[in-house]
């Protein structure tokens, strides 16, 4: 039964969140998370599981989304009679069709060739979306109204929270199917081809065909995410299939951790939160996102999920608690150091005017503020370096001792 525990927890989290946080802002954020989770998981099918680095994954998201909005319009004008609960499926099918077409020539090779083709296709579709105005609506995009469809058990989807529960259902189902895919022969061989395409051919599998299958599945789920986007926002523009969106999903999957199935979910949640909450406090949040990405690549190459999994050994040996204090001793100065860097950036950005930063008001014209900031920064940096040794030794102890205790009896 332990096998299903994470899934039950996931379902409870998905359904329970709006009960805990029911503000309009919270529901908006949850809806964004739902879209981001499916999109990031679909991206991980390509990069994390299939070894295909794509710079144009928004194409399948966007095309699915556009077609979903058009389907909503058809429902609105009663051209078709169709429940809007199935709109994500429309998005998915369009994503799948687009992926079958593009994948037929782009999955021949992984690596640079694949990456460049994905970039080219991304630019091509983004440019076309501004040219073919009748379908893509130019820069204004296309919009629809989701409330005209046949009610679903009396629900007409006027409210965002109703859409959230619909999305949550799709997110859960998509996550389950994407997970199950990793457990199939096609999913297992996708990993094998990622690791070593040559050897895969000598055990009977065409690397190209294996990549093609992953690529199409990934396109399908990206399209589902696009359909969820269409349902939530009721409009879509060129921005949703261009390189910016493609870049963002790459960041989500990478920061979350490519090597783990749960990684992109973490990345989607963290980035959506940053996007929605941080942008309320600072105009520089994109800069901070960039810094976070660089730091992740440098220090946590396996992402947040990788960082969590690093503690598995200590957790299993029951020594995780011995790490709490060392983490605090190094972590507090580290956070203070990071905070003073952020404060300095904000002071430079605000130039002359005073602004609130956390619990204090800072003014870049005030020399005393600069002095205090530099002192805090220097002191915390020093404390951080000084305490790094105790963290390292505590870490080694927590991990090493497990090894010896396990070897002892056996």
């Amino acid at each position: 039964m332990g096998k299903f525990a994470p899934w039950v927890g996931y379902l409870i989290a998905l359904l329970g969140l709006p009960q805990l946080f029911d503000s309009v802002l919270a529901i908006t954020i949850f809806n964004q998370m739902a879209i981001a989770i499916v999109f990031a998981l679909s991206y991980n099918m390509l990069l994390g599981q299939g070894g295909m680095l794509s710079f144009g994954h928004a194409v399948y998201f966007g095309l699915g989304g556009f077609m979903a909005v058009h389907a909503l319009i058809l429902i609105e004008f009663e051209t078709v009679y169709f429940s809007i609960t199935l709109i994500p499926l429309v998005g998915g099918l369009i994503g799948l069709i687009a992926a079958i077409f593009v994948g037929s020539f782009s999955t021949h090779k992984a690596g640079t060739v694949f990456a460049m083709i994905s970039l080219g296709i991304g630019e091509l579709v983004a440019a076309s979306s501004l040219i073919f105005v009748s379908f893509f609506g130019g820069e204004a995009g296309v919009s629809a109204d989701r409330t005209f469809g046949p009610p679903f058990f009396g629900i007409e989807f006027f409210q965002d929270v109703e859409i959230y529960y619909l999305s949550a259902g799709w997110v859960f189902a998509s996550t389950v199917f994407m997970y199950l895919f990793t457990q199939t022969p096609a999913g297992s061989m996708a990993n094998a081809v990622r690791d070593n395409p040559e050897r895969a051919e000598f055990i009977g599998y065409s690397a190209r065909r294996v990549r093609f299958i992953s690529f199409c599945s990934s396109g399908f789920f990206a399209g589902v995410a696009g359909g969820l986007f269409a349902l939530n926002y009721e409009f879509i523009t060129e921005e949703n299939l261009n390189a910016v969106t493609s870049g963002r999903v790459l960041l989500m999957a990478y920061i979350g951790g490519l090597g783990y199935f749960i990684g992109p979910i973490i990345g989607a949640v963290v980035l959506t939160l940053m996007n929605s909450l941080l942008s309320n406090y600072t105009e520089l949040w994109m800069l901070y996102l960039g810094i976070m990405f660089v730091l992740t690549v440098l220090f946590l190459p396996r992402g947040f999920a990788g960082f969590i999994m690093m503690h598995q050994t200590a957790w299993l040996s029951g020594r995780l608690s011995s790490l709490v204090l060392p983490y605090l001793i190094t972590g507090i100065p580290a956070i203070m150091f990071g905070g003073s860097i952020l404060a300095a950036i904000e002071m430079l950005h605000h130039g002359g005017e005073s602004f609130g930063f956390l619990f204090v008001t800072l003014d870049s014209g005030n020399a005393l503020h600069w002095f205090a900031l530099t002192s805090v920064g220097a002191a915390s940096h020093f404390a951080c370096r000084l305490s790094l040794g105790q963290l390292t030794s505590a870490w080694e102890e927590a991990n090493q001792s497990e090894d010896t205790t396990e070897r002892g009896p056996s």
Binding site: T184, S188, R199, E201, F202, Y205, S217, G259
Partner: protein, 256 residues
């Protein structure tokens, strides 16, 4: 009858002719070794048979079916498996997944995304059994890339034989191993090729003369002799090719 036959097989890279009209017949059930000095084209010959390289000219038939210039995966599906001189496994997959991947096609699972591997009880049991045979069952859940060298070589063999192919081609299976590791590997090779056809390239003459029923000598892209170990040892042409190196006159003691 011959299970694999090569007729006038040639391969050139640019103007350099690496394989020059090779004719070779491998009988079903035999253990056949291909030897020759460095640069003779042994690995190239393997790559031609297994589909990694395209032929410049000639014909290769496996079980009366022409396989030259077919993609490697089609040749593998016919029941011709091979290992590599440089370890060529799936480093991030677990040891268990490595051998299971090798079994998938023969199991008829193909590219299926409707079967769950966890439910393939018989397949998983066979994969575990194979790991026991190659003495890696206690490493089943380790990432293959973290194994020690000799263990990776054992896994290399395991992946090759996993499909249950009838013809197994091993490219220097014991290269880089210590004496004891090599001994273990040889007995493993004997065990797992029981009832199958084996073609192997190997530099260690002890092993070649110990394992092989028949030996072919490849020199500068041509087979100069193909015969029983005793006949090869006595063959003046072979001795000439090896410039009197002691290996062939005294098959017991020398390490090539």
């Amino acid at each position: 009858m011959s299970i694999l036959s090569l007729r006038n097989v040639s391969k050139s890279f640019g103007k350099t002719e690496i394989i020059r009209g090779v004719n070779l017949d491998i009988q079903a059930g035999e253990r056949h070794a291909i030897i020759g000095p460095n640069g003779a084209g042994k690995s190239t010959l393997f790559h031609l048979i297994s589909g990694k390289y395209q032929l410049s000219s000639g014909r290769i038939t496996f079980r009366d079916q022409e396989i030259q210039n077919h993609p490697p995966y089609e040749i593998a599906r016919l029941g011709l498996a091979r290992s590599f001189q440089v370890t060529n496994i799936f480093p991030r997959l677990s040891v268990f997944e490595n051998v299971r991947c090798g079994m998938l096609w023969k199991q008829g699972l193909g590219y299926s995304f409707r079967h769950l591997l966890g439910r393939q009880t018989e397949l998983n049991a066979r994969a575990m059994h194979l790991l026991e045979e190659i003495s890696l069952s206690d490493r089943a859940n380790f990432p293959a890339g973290e194994l020690a060298y000799a263990q990776q070589r054992a896994l290399e063999l395991g992946v090759a034989i996993a499909s249950g192919a009838d013809l197994i081609m091993l490219d220097e299976p014991v290269a880089g191993m210590s004496l004891s590791e090599a001994e273990a590997a040889v007995s493993l090779i004997r065990k797992i090729t029981e009832g199958k056809t084996l073609v192997m390239v190997e530099h260690d003459m002890n092993i070649v003369f110990d394992v092989a029923d028949r030996i072919s000598v490849l020199v500068y892209g041509e087979i100069i002799a193909s015969d029983s170990p005793q006949a090869i040892r006595a063959n003046p042409k072979v001795q000439e090719a090896y410039l009197g190196e002691a290996i062939l006159t005294d098959a017991g003691g020398e390490d090539a």
